[in-house]
Symmetry: C2
Subunit: 362 residues, 2 copies
């Protein structure tokens, strides 16, 4: 669209090298290198001459050559483990992770390389077999065994999802978020609040379950729940089991919005009204929460910001960040849990802890 094309055309499709730039500027390649590296110790006149030569030739340092010669990497790896390959395209969570990580990487002038592997097979991915072009990797859904292995390799690793002390991690405040959602249902006067939890192997879903339990226990209410796999099919099955076992529930906290969309459909198919008969609150605040009728109440988690933070942790000075960084969640009340049941209210019920939110689209 500007110059590089003509530059490339005239020399027969070959990219210019640092040597040509140096020649054109009347300096040595070392000086060009100093200029582009932003190092000091170059006279202003010289620097300007070099910069002009760079502009004229449209030269860009070849990443391969730069890295071979000892330069730092210029790619960050995003390695996602999924139970099923299709899950990547199906669960909006991953797209949000990618959006956040990609934006932060771009801001730092880095490329983002995405790799998807079956659960438990992260270490087999090519990026982990070395290569100096990677500055490090953000890993998603890793087990702690995989994490310790990967942490033993040369490059730094940050996990999305707490893995103990194996590697640094970033996470939403799952316990507080889940407990807040359950509290919201409690305050409405809901009597029998169930949960549909995520899979056991996932640290986030364990924490959300813990938050739900904590809240109900404090309130002296019985826990009732099923667990599912963070996908719609298994969530629908779990919801059916739940209704079968406890037909009298009047609220459900679901560990992800994607699962909640399926739960909603099962409830409606069973003839129940939402929120009148049963209230539903999800977790994530992902796009599907706005697509259902009624729209889903949910616990907002800042997935993009978490992914971005993970990348910054990777590229920042090693050991500078806390072991497990947490970002706040926020309850978003929509039609699926609003208005509260008009009947019973808890004595001394608090005001609703969150603002209402009734957008139809977005």
């Amino acid at each position: 669209m500007t110059d590089p094309v003509s530059a490339r055309e005239r020399d027969g499709g070959k990219a210019p090298t640092i040597e040509q730039v140096a020649a054109l500027a009347g300096v040595s390649t070392a000086t060009v290198s100093r200029v582009v590296s932003g190092r000091d110790g170059v006279r202003d006149v010289t620097r300007t001459r070099v910069e002009q030569a760079i502009a004229v030739t449209g030269w860009t340092a070849d990443p391969s050559a730069r890295q071979l010669a000892g330069g730092r990497g210029d790619e960050v790896v995003l390695a996602l483990a999924v139970p099923d390959r299709r899950e990547f395209g199906t669960d909006p969570y991953y797209a949000r992770v990618l959006a956040g990580a990609g934006e932060e990487a771009a801001r730092q002038g880095l490329s983002l390389c995405v790799h998807v592997a079956p659960l438990g097979e992260l270490p087999a991915l090519t990026p982990f077999r070395g290569g100096r072009r990677h500055v490090g990797a953000v890993i998603v859904n890793a087990s702690s065994e995989e994490a310790v292995f990967l942490a033993g390799l040369a490059r730094p690793v940050v996990s999305m999802g707490d893995l103990g002390t194996a590697v640094p991690s970033v996470d939403p405040e799952n316990i507080a978020g889940a407990s807040g959602a359950a509290g919201h249902l409690l305050v409405q006067g809901r009597q029998r609040i169930a949960t549909i939890a995520g899979p056991r192997w996932n640290p986030c879903s364990r924490e959300r379950l813990a938050g739900y339990r904590y809240c109900l226990r404090e309130a002296g209410r019985p826990e009732v729940g099923e667990s599912a796999d963070f996908n719609r099919v298994s969530a629908a099955a779990a919801a059916r089991r739940l209704l079968q076992a406890s037909p009298d529930i009047d609220a459900i906290f679901v560990a992800s919005d994607l699962m909640a969309t399926a739960v909603l459909q099962v409830l409606i198919a069973s003839g129940r009204r939402v929120p009148d008969d049963v209230a539903v609150v999800g977790f994530d605040d992902s796009p599907p929460a706005l697509m259902t009728t009624p729209a889903l109440s949910t616990v907002h988690q800042p997935v993009e910001a978490l992914a971005s933070l993970a990348v910054r942790t990777l590229t920042g000075p090693p050991g500078a960040s806390p072991q497990d960084q947490r970002l706040a969640t926020r309850l978003v009340v929509r039609a699926s849990s609003d208005p509260p049941v008009p009947s019973v209210r808890m004595p001394g019920a608090l005001a609703l802890p969150a603002s209402r939110d009734r957008e139809i689209a977005g």
Copy 2:
């Protein structure tokens, strides 16, 4: 999870080089290179010795060094242009593209680098500034001006979305798909069939509009429609305008499922019943189509397969593929357009052209 770690630990964190492998196998580095490149002209005994040495050391060729020396690239670039950065995490289309492209790249032992740019700024992305590590780029939402520019660069480029003769492209059969959707509504006896089209700048949405128009014109019916931007907010606004201008419509073909979820909500909010008063058919067969109540009828397009095909076109011999490769779509009838209105039926109506599909979850 096996040897490389110990290998890396004993030599002080430095990766082994081809030279060490060669020494251990008692051959020259050139022979090791031949073995890993799978070239013939190596005695079986020698080859085996080398392979053992590789296994023992846990060596992997450094991609930077390999490329500097003239080897082929090992990354494919996926460059997506979006009107708004957030759209990447919001529209399931992109996740599906990524899933398909990533799977194919992995199958070929290549890495996938994802870059997102604002509409019209694709050429500014770093991958296009050269670098021998890329085998080529798949571009999404490029304009034809951008495409001709990018095609002028060294590496091959394939577009998702027809761009004329600028670059090779892959596409679903938009016209047939859209026309089939409209035909499905026609056959049901729907009287006033509207459309909500996608943005003008997008070739796919232009083709879908053309398919809709073709079908209605053939049937001698009036066209009525609005256009929106492939997002929920603008689709909801378009739906409201449509209902205002033509309150008597009884069917809408929407150019994407994401938009259709918003249209559905607007219809319901307006007091209309779906499908009884108004039938809705979307396009894509993306996950959101299954999340609504009623579930969305839609035109299935094989996004993953298209992305995979785009990658194969890139990595295959240049010029070996047709300029614009098309993959078939398929109408999926769900509750939002089923059953047909019981009232009027067209004389000589055909049988429904597609199988029914009533899954609640997936």
